[in-house]
Subunit: 328 residues, 2 copies
Amino acid sequence: MVRIAVDAMGGDGGSETVIEALGNALDSDPELHILLCGPASVQRRLEGLPESLRSRVEMIIAESVLPADASAIQAIRHGQGSSLWAATDELVEGRADAAVSGGSTAALMALSRHRLGMLPGVERPALMAAIPTTSRRVWMLDLGANVNVDARRLLEFAQLGHVGFSVLEGRQPRIGLLNIGSEPGKGPDVIREAARLIDAEPTLDYAGFIEADQVFESHVDLVVCDGFVGNVLLKSAEGAVRLMFASFQNRLKGSLCGLLARSRIRALHDMLDPARHNGAPLLGIRGTVIKSHGGSCARGVARAIELAALQARNDLVGQLEKKLWESY
Amino acid sequence: MVRIAVDAMGGDGGSETVIEALGNALDSDPELHILLCGPASVQRRLEGLPESLRSRVEMIIAESVLPADASAIQAIRHGQGSSLWAATDELVEGRADAAVSGGSTAALMALSRHRLGMLPGVERPALMAAIPTTSRRVWMLDLGANVNVDARRLLEFAQLGHVGFSVLEGRQPRIGLLNIGSEPGKGPDVIREAARLIDAEPTLDYAGFIEADQVFESHVDLVVCDGFVGNVLLKSAEGAVRLMFASFQNRLKGSLCGLLARSRIRALHDMLDPARHNGAPLLGIRGTVIKSHGGSCARGVARAIELAALQARNDLVGQLEKKLWESY
């Protein structure tokens, strides 16, 4: 049995999307139990689930809700009693094996860090997420708020990501360090120093520098970068892909060919759909916490829950702690 | 008459691509004169041009060629006698109004700065380039090697970009500052401080923070960012678009619909084609210098030459100098 605490209120789709997601996740994983955290009014909506699934959902009442753009300070000062606080509470008290929320990233990071604590030597959590590509999945970290990091921190991201990837994908990742050139002498000092540190770690499979366009060609499995740059890379690709789909649809509209191509374009769209890749682990926290994208559909939220279950079953946190002790 | 010094040897396509580009550019601009800098062997290839165009090309013999990945130091120490050095020489000596090269960005920046000098108060040149979008053109700077810049430098980019955009597009730009959130409190200190400085400049039309995905929606005309982040944004979009085109073609291959859609997909591809947007001005140099993309086709190189002519005719450098004096 694996028990996942789910914030019913994080995410733009509200509790309706989350409950639809629970249905999918419970249906495909008979060992899954859900602790659903949210206002009492949510309980009524659970009746939409078949009885066989509903019996594996326990409602944890939390009347308040943190806003989608809640800051770290707001979350810590005024978060008590909120659905997000309740979800981390289940983890702190050992009643849940993992927590999932589609709420504010800053609030989720702050509450997780504040209430669960960090693994040895890790200062702030790193957010790892999958980049939508058409071939094998590429993961990237940091996508959280770690900005202007030093070389040691980039090494730490590589170590956290190595273990995270191994647990989630079942094999060791080939690691690339994001830079503005692929030759060894390129880029700022901090990146070149990080390359030296990562390369010197015998347990890491380091592939060298990788440029932003090569990320989509899947030469590496894991891309290490500063949180600001990672955010820009991911959002830039999202923006470009969105623009292209809109243009294609516009150009093919009203034509026979457009009609014929529609299903193929949809298939490609689904393949690149962020929902297929939803669920970003917060690495370095002493507990399994997954950020779900705020705008995700039920299918995406279900995937984040599955990812949380996978991490909890494989004891990602225990493995990370072991790895971190070894490297100090 | 406008006289452009062109490096015949920069760029992956070599002198053949450059000479084809000269043909296009000379044909569409009867006032254009070219000073073509390269080895004597190039002269023979010029015979491929019609006599009416060839008479407006003067050959400047420079026997050596800098490698495509030449560093700044390499260019300054060993660049003398190279085609790139000769092109900047024509500018220094006042025989050319502008210079264009598809060679190493680092070498071009170093030689331009070293030989032409900088405008008052500008420390290093900023590279401005257009982002391929389907609607109106969005320009972005810095894309050069300015990394880890401070808030004053971001303000300088906004000032340089404002004048550059006005000259190239004939209207004043709406300026966005790249950040990882669009709300005022978001992002690192340096970005928030830069926002305050840019907003306080009465001559700049500041639109606030812009996230990487919004860049493609053309809410703003000019995006200001650090050179590392700008490079990542542009390359990430290029990589994602390349992946999508490949996937589309793969999915539609061999089908009737694929055949019907081909011309429409090609039209979209051409619209997003970097060649249409080729030519990146080096702003802050005391002279008009344009970087052409190394991998550009003849059409792209021709566009870079046209851009150089436009900048020279509108005295972009004089306008920048005036603007910079006003702001000190």
